[in-house]
Protein backbone atom coordinates (compact mmCIF):
# COMPACT_ATOMS: atom_id res chain seq x y z
CA UNK A 1 0.00 0.00 0.00
CA UNK A 2 1.27 3.40 -0.85
CA UNK A 3 2.48 5.40 2.09
CA UNK A 4 0.37 8.39 1.15
CA UNK A 5 -2.74 6.25 1.16
CA UNK A 6 -1.81 4.71 4.49
CA UNK A 7 -1.29 8.16 5.94
CA UNK A 8 -4.66 9.25 4.61
CA UNK A 9 -6.41 6.29 6.13
CA UNK A 10 -4.96 7.03 9.53
CA UNK A 11 -5.67 10.73 9.28
CA UNK A 12 -9.22 9.93 8.27
CA UNK A 13 -9.72 7.55 11.14
CA UNK A 14 -8.22 9.86 13.71
CA UNK A 15 -10.01 12.99 12.53
CA UNK A 16 -8.58 15.91 14.41
CA UNK A 17 -7.36 13.82 17.31
CA UNK A 18 -3.75 13.53 16.18
CA UNK A 19 -1.19 16.29 16.14
CA UNK A 20 0.92 14.68 13.48
CA UNK A 21 0.72 11.57 11.31
CA UNK A 22 3.67 10.25 9.32
CA UNK A 23 3.84 7.04 7.34
CA UNK A 24 7.11 5.17 6.92
CA UNK A 25 6.84 1.86 5.15
CA UNK A 26 4.07 -0.01 6.89
CA UNK A 27 4.63 1.93 10.09
CA UNK A 28 2.58 4.99 10.89
CA UNK A 29 3.95 7.34 13.51
CA UNK A 30 1.21 9.24 15.25
CA UNK A 31 1.64 12.00 17.80
CA UNK A 32 -1.25 12.68 20.12
CA UNK A 33 -1.81 15.20 22.88
CA UNK A 34 -2.70 13.79 26.28
CA UNK A 35 -6.37 14.88 26.35
CA UNK A 36 -7.03 13.07 23.07
CA UNK A 37 -4.99 9.95 23.88
CA UNK A 38 -7.77 7.56 24.81
CA UNK A 39 -10.07 8.76 22.05
CA UNK A 40 -7.28 8.40 19.50
CA UNK A 41 -6.38 4.89 20.63
CA UNK A 42 -10.02 3.89 20.59
CA UNK A 43 -10.38 5.31 17.09
CA UNK A 44 -7.34 3.36 15.91
CA UNK A 45 -8.75 0.20 17.39
CA UNK A 46 -12.34 0.46 16.19
CA UNK A 47 -12.13 2.35 12.92
CA UNK A 48 -12.36 -0.06 10.00
CA UNK A 49 -9.82 2.10 8.13
CA UNK A 50 -7.07 1.39 10.63
CA UNK A 51 -8.26 -1.72 12.54
CA UNK A 52 -5.24 -1.65 14.83
CA UNK A 53 -6.67 -4.05 17.38
CA UNK A 54 -3.47 -5.82 18.40
CA UNK A 55 -1.74 -4.34 21.46
CA UNK A 56 1.87 -4.91 20.49
CA UNK A 57 3.74 -2.79 22.96
CA UNK A 58 3.50 0.01 25.48
CA UNK A 59 6.42 1.78 27.02
CA UNK A 60 7.64 5.21 27.92
CA UNK A 61 10.85 7.16 27.85
CA UNK A 62 12.16 10.17 29.67
CA UNK A 63 14.64 12.57 28.17
CA UNK A 64 15.07 14.64 31.28
CA UNK A 65 12.94 17.42 29.87
CA UNK A 66 10.06 15.45 28.54
CA UNK A 67 8.35 12.18 29.28
CA UNK A 68 6.61 10.35 26.46
CA UNK A 69 4.35 7.36 26.28
CA UNK A 70 4.83 5.05 23.31
CA UNK A 71 2.04 2.75 22.20
CA UNK A 72 2.49 0.32 19.39
CA UNK A 73 -0.67 -1.07 17.86
CA UNK A 74 -0.78 -3.45 14.95
CA UNK A 75 -3.38 -4.59 12.52
CA UNK A 76 -2.60 -8.22 11.88
CA UNK A 77 -4.61 -8.86 8.69
CA UNK A 78 -3.57 -5.55 7.10
CA UNK A 79 0.10 -5.80 8.04
CA UNK A 80 0.51 -2.26 9.27
CA UNK A 81 1.19 -0.84 12.65
CA UNK A 82 0.97 2.47 14.41
CA UNK A 83 3.49 3.94 16.84
CA UNK A 84 1.55 6.38 18.94
CA UNK A 85 3.55 8.79 21.04
CA UNK A 86 2.02 11.00 23.65
CA UNK A 87 3.98 13.54 25.70
CA UNK A 88 3.16 13.67 29.39
CA UNK A 89 3.33 16.28 32.08
CA UNK A 90 6.65 15.36 33.65
CA UNK A 91 5.88 16.87 37.05
CA UNK A 92 2.65 15.00 37.50
CA UNK A 93 2.55 12.18 34.95
CA UNK A 94 -0.95 10.93 34.38
CA UNK A 95 -2.59 9.14 31.51
CA UNK A 96 -5.90 7.47 30.89
CA UNK A 97 -5.75 3.69 31.19
CA UNK A 98 -6.60 1.56 28.18
CA UNK A 99 -6.49 -1.72 30.09
CA UNK A 100 -10.23 -2.06 29.54
CA UNK A 101 -9.80 -1.80 25.76
CA UNK A 102 -6.87 -4.19 25.68
CA UNK A 103 -6.47 -6.47 28.69
CA UNK A 104 -3.00 -7.15 27.34
CA UNK A 105 -1.95 -3.61 28.27
CA UNK A 106 -2.84 -4.17 31.91
CA UNK A 107 0.63 -5.35 32.87
CA UNK A 108 2.37 -3.01 30.48
CA UNK A 109 0.69 -0.07 32.21
CA UNK A 110 1.70 -1.44 35.57
CA UNK A 111 5.25 -1.69 34.30
CA UNK A 112 5.27 1.91 33.07
CA UNK A 113 3.86 2.99 36.43
CA UNK A 114 6.53 0.94 38.16
CA UNK A 115 9.37 2.47 36.19
CA UNK A 116 8.18 6.01 35.50
CA UNK A 117 5.44 6.67 38.04
CA UNK A 118 2.85 7.36 35.39
CA UNK A 119 -0.54 7.14 37.06
CA UNK A 120 -2.94 5.41 34.70
CA UNK A 121 -6.38 6.64 35.60
CA UNK A 122 -8.98 3.93 35.54
CA UNK A 123 -6.50 1.07 35.76
CA UNK A 124 -8.06 -1.76 37.76
CA UNK A 125 -4.98 -2.66 39.76
CA UNK A 126 -2.18 -0.13 39.54
CA UNK A 127 0.64 -1.55 41.64
CA UNK A 128 4.32 -2.11 41.19
CA UNK A 129 4.93 -5.19 39.10
CA UNK A 130 8.64 -5.84 38.69
CA UNK A 131 10.19 -3.92 41.56
CA UNK A 132 9.57 -4.74 45.22
CA UNK A 133 6.46 -3.12 46.64
CA UNK A 134 8.48 -0.93 49.00
CA UNK A 135 10.83 0.44 46.37
CA UNK A 136 11.35 4.18 46.54
CA UNK A 137 11.32 6.29 43.42
CA UNK A 138 10.84 5.45 39.77
CA UNK A 139 14.14 4.25 38.32
CA UNK A 140 13.70 5.15 34.69
CA UNK A 141 13.08 8.83 35.30
CA UNK A 142 16.24 10.68 34.48
CA UNK A 143 16.20 12.45 37.85
CA UNK A 144 16.32 9.14 39.70
CA UNK A 145 19.49 8.74 41.73
CA UNK A 146 20.49 5.13 42.03
CA UNK A 147 22.13 4.19 45.27
CA UNK A 148 24.47 1.24 45.00
CA UNK A 149 23.31 -1.07 47.71
CA UNK A 150 26.50 -3.06 47.70
CA UNK A 151 26.63 -6.78 47.91
CA UNK A 152 26.33 -8.47 51.28
CA UNK A 153 28.80 -11.04 50.05
CA UNK A 154 32.45 -10.53 50.66
CA UNK A 155 34.56 -9.97 47.64
CA UNK A 156 35.79 -7.33 45.25
CA UNK A 157 33.05 -4.80 44.76
CA UNK A 158 32.69 -2.61 41.71
CA UNK A 159 31.26 0.49 43.34
CA UNK A 160 31.42 2.31 40.03
CA UNK A 161 30.04 -0.54 37.99
CA UNK A 162 27.98 0.78 35.17
CA UNK A 163 29.22 4.35 35.59
CA UNK A 164 32.01 3.94 33.08
CA UNK A 165 30.40 5.96 30.32
Amino acid sequence: MAQAELKERFEGALGGLAEAVEAEGSLVRVRVALPNLRAALLALKTSPDTACDFPANLTAFDTGQEMTLLYRLASIPNRWQALVSCPLDREDPKAPSVADLWPGFNWFEREVYDMFGVAFEGHPDLRRILLPDDWEGFPFRKDYVSKPSGSPLKGPQPTDLGEQA
Partner: protein
Protein backbone atom coordinates in the same frame (compact mmCIF):
# COMPACT_ATOMS: atom_id res chain seq x y z
CA UNK B 1 -17.79 -42.46 19.31
CA UNK B 2 -18.32 -46.00 20.38
CA UNK B 3 -16.96 -46.15 23.94
CA UNK B 4 -15.57 -49.65 23.58
CA UNK B 5 -13.77 -48.72 20.41
CA UNK B 6 -12.37 -45.53 21.90
CA UNK B 7 -11.18 -47.49 24.92
CA UNK B 8 -9.48 -50.09 22.75
CA UNK B 9 -8.08 -47.41 20.45
CA UNK B 10 -6.65 -45.62 23.46
CA UNK B 11 -5.11 -48.83 24.70
CA UNK B 12 -3.59 -49.40 21.29
CA UNK B 13 -2.00 -45.93 21.34
CA UNK B 14 -0.70 -46.57 24.83
CA UNK B 15 0.84 -49.84 23.67
CA UNK B 16 2.48 -47.89 20.84
CA UNK B 17 4.09 -45.57 23.36
CA UNK B 18 5.16 -48.49 25.50
CA UNK B 19 6.73 -50.16 22.50
CA UNK B 20 8.73 -47.01 21.98
CA UNK B 21 10.00 -46.90 25.54
CA UNK B 22 10.85 -50.59 25.37
CA UNK B 23 12.87 -49.97 22.24
CA UNK B 24 14.75 -47.22 24.00
CA UNK B 25 15.34 -49.60 26.88
CA UNK B 26 17.59 -51.62 24.60
CA UNK B 27 19.04 -48.75 22.60
CA UNK B 28 22.47 -47.33 23.14
CA UNK B 29 22.34 -44.84 25.99
CA UNK B 30 22.97 -41.15 25.53
CA UNK B 31 24.72 -40.73 28.88
CA UNK B 32 28.28 -39.48 28.97
CA UNK B 33 29.77 -40.44 32.31
CA UNK B 34 31.08 -36.98 32.86
CA UNK B 35 34.08 -36.99 35.14
CA UNK B 36 35.44 -40.11 33.40
CA UNK B 37 34.29 -39.39 29.89
CA UNK B 38 34.08 -35.98 28.34
CA UNK B 39 32.40 -34.65 25.31
CA UNK B 40 35.03 -32.88 23.22
CA UNK B 41 34.53 -29.12 23.17
CA UNK B 42 34.54 -27.16 19.95
CA UNK B 43 37.70 -25.31 18.91
CA UNK B 44 35.82 -22.06 19.49
CA UNK B 45 34.86 -23.00 22.99
CA UNK B 46 34.79 -20.01 25.32
CA UNK B 47 36.31 -21.37 28.46
CA UNK B 48 39.00 -20.17 30.84
CA UNK B 49 41.05 -17.15 29.78
CA UNK B 50 44.73 -17.20 29.14
CA UNK B 51 47.28 -14.62 28.05
CA UNK B 52 49.18 -15.89 25.08
CA UNK B 53 52.85 -16.69 25.57
CA UNK B 54 55.20 -15.82 22.75
CA UNK B 55 58.00 -18.39 22.89
CA UNK B 56 60.10 -16.57 20.34
CA UNK B 57 60.12 -13.24 22.12
CA UNK B 58 59.99 -14.87 25.55
CA UNK B 59 57.13 -12.65 26.66
CA UNK B 60 53.36 -12.39 26.81
CA UNK B 61 51.81 -10.82 23.78
CA UNK B 62 49.92 -8.33 25.92
CA UNK B 63 51.19 -4.75 25.69
CA UNK B 64 48.74 -3.30 28.19
CA UNK B 65 46.71 -1.22 25.75
CA UNK B 66 43.49 -1.71 27.83
CA UNK B 67 41.36 -2.18 24.71
CA UNK B 68 39.97 -5.36 26.21
CA UNK B 69 39.18 -3.58 29.46
CA UNK B 70 37.33 -0.93 27.50
CA UNK B 71 35.44 -3.53 25.51
CA UNK B 72 34.33 -5.33 28.65
CA UNK B 73 30.73 -4.59 29.57
CA UNK B 74 31.21 -5.51 33.22
CA UNK B 75 34.66 -4.11 34.09
CA UNK B 76 36.22 -7.48 34.62
CA UNK B 77 39.71 -6.60 33.45
CA UNK B 78 42.27 -4.36 35.05
CA UNK B 79 45.96 -4.27 34.25
CA UNK B 80 49.16 -2.47 35.00
CA UNK B 81 51.17 -1.39 32.01
CA UNK B 82 54.95 -1.16 32.07
CA UNK B 83 57.19 0.25 29.42
CA UNK B 84 56.19 2.09 26.33
CA UNK B 85 56.10 1.59 22.59
CA UNK B 86 57.95 -1.55 21.57
CA UNK B 87 58.94 -2.38 25.15
CA UNK B 88 55.39 -2.13 26.51
CA UNK B 89 53.99 -5.05 28.50
CA UNK B 90 52.05 -5.84 31.61
CA UNK B 91 53.30 -6.82 35.03
CA UNK B 92 49.82 -7.22 36.44
CA UNK B 93 46.64 -8.35 34.76
CA UNK B 94 43.60 -9.14 36.88
CA UNK B 95 40.32 -10.66 35.84
CA UNK B 96 37.42 -10.92 38.24
CA UNK B 97 35.58 -13.91 36.83
CA UNK B 98 32.83 -13.41 39.39
CA UNK B 99 31.56 -10.70 37.09
CA UNK B 100 32.61 -12.20 33.78
CA UNK B 101 29.92 -13.15 31.26
CA UNK B 102 32.31 -15.00 28.93
CA UNK B 103 30.94 -12.89 26.12
CA UNK B 104 34.10 -12.93 24.01
CA UNK B 105 34.15 -9.15 23.50
CA UNK B 106 37.63 -8.73 25.05
CA UNK B 107 39.07 -11.42 22.80
CA UNK B 108 37.58 -9.75 19.76
CA UNK B 109 38.83 -6.35 20.85
CA UNK B 110 42.45 -7.41 21.22
CA UNK B 111 44.61 -6.33 18.26
CA UNK B 112 47.73 -8.06 19.62
CA UNK B 113 46.55 -11.69 19.82
CA UNK B 114 47.17 -11.48 23.52
CA UNK B 115 44.03 -12.67 25.30
CA UNK B 116 42.25 -15.89 24.46
CA UNK B 117 39.64 -18.19 25.87
CA UNK B 118 40.69 -21.80 26.17
CA UNK B 119 38.82 -25.07 26.46
CA UNK B 120 39.09 -25.37 30.24
CA UNK B 121 35.63 -25.24 31.75
CA UNK B 122 35.95 -26.46 35.31
CA UNK B 123 36.71 -23.39 37.34
CA UNK B 124 34.49 -23.63 40.34
CA UNK B 125 36.07 -22.16 43.45
CA UNK B 126 35.12 -22.38 47.09
CA UNK B 127 35.80 -18.76 47.97
CA UNK B 128 34.69 -15.67 46.15
CA UNK B 129 38.27 -14.41 46.17
CA UNK B 130 39.25 -17.49 44.21
CA UNK B 131 37.42 -16.20 41.17
CA UNK B 132 39.79 -13.24 40.90
CA UNK B 133 42.61 -14.35 38.65
CA UNK B 134 46.01 -12.65 38.67
CA UNK B 135 48.50 -12.57 35.87
CA UNK B 136 50.34 -15.62 37.21
CA UNK B 137 47.14 -17.69 36.83
CA UNK B 138 46.34 -16.29 33.44
CA UNK B 139 49.70 -16.53 31.69
CA UNK B 140 49.81 -19.39 29.20
CA UNK B 141 52.21 -21.95 30.55
CA UNK B 142 51.67 -20.95 34.16
CA UNK B 143 53.55 -18.81 36.72
CA UNK B 144 56.88 -19.81 35.19
CA UNK B 145 56.10 -17.87 32.05
CA UNK B 146 54.81 -14.96 34.08
CA UNK B 147 58.23 -14.66 35.72
CA UNK B 148 60.01 -14.98 32.41
CA UNK B 149 57.74 -12.31 30.98
CA UNK B 150 58.76 -9.94 33.79
CA UNK B 151 62.42 -10.66 33.14
CA UNK B 152 62.07 -10.03 29.44
CA UNK B 153 60.23 -6.79 30.08
CA UNK B 154 62.91 -5.63 32.53
CA UNK B 155 65.62 -6.49 30.03
CA UNK B 156 63.83 -4.65 27.25
CA UNK B 157 63.41 -1.68 29.48
CA UNK B 158 67.06 -1.63 30.47
CA UNK B 159 68.03 -1.79 26.84
CA UNK B 160 65.70 1.08 26.12
CA UNK B 161 67.16 3.04 29.03
CA UNK B 162 70.64 2.51 27.62
CA UNK B 163 69.70 3.55 24.14
CA UNK B 164 67.86 6.50 25.60
CA UNK B 165 70.84 7.53 27.63
CA UNK B 166 72.78 7.39 24.39
CA UNK B 167 70.17 9.40 22.48
CA UNK B 168 69.15 11.33 25.60
CA UNK B 169 65.55 12.25 25.05
CA UNK B 170 64.29 13.52 28.38
CA UNK B 171 60.55 13.37 27.60
CA UNK B 172 60.69 9.68 26.78
CA UNK B 173 62.66 8.87 29.84
CA UNK B 174 60.09 10.59 32.01
CA UNK B 175 57.34 8.59 30.38
CA UNK B 176 59.24 5.37 30.88
CA UNK B 177 59.75 6.16 34.55
CA UNK B 178 56.10 6.87 35.00
CA UNK B 179 55.26 3.66 33.27
CA UNK B 180 57.55 1.72 35.53
Amino acid sequence: MNPVRSLLGGLWKIFGGMGLTLRNFFRRKATIRYPYERRPVSPRYRGMFYLKWNEEKQRLNCVGCTLCAQACPTNVISMNKVGKGTTAGVDEFTMDLGRCMFCNLCVEACPFDAIYMGDQYEFAVTHKEGSVLRIADLAQGGPENYRRNLETLRRLQEEAEKSKAAGDKPTERRAAEEGA
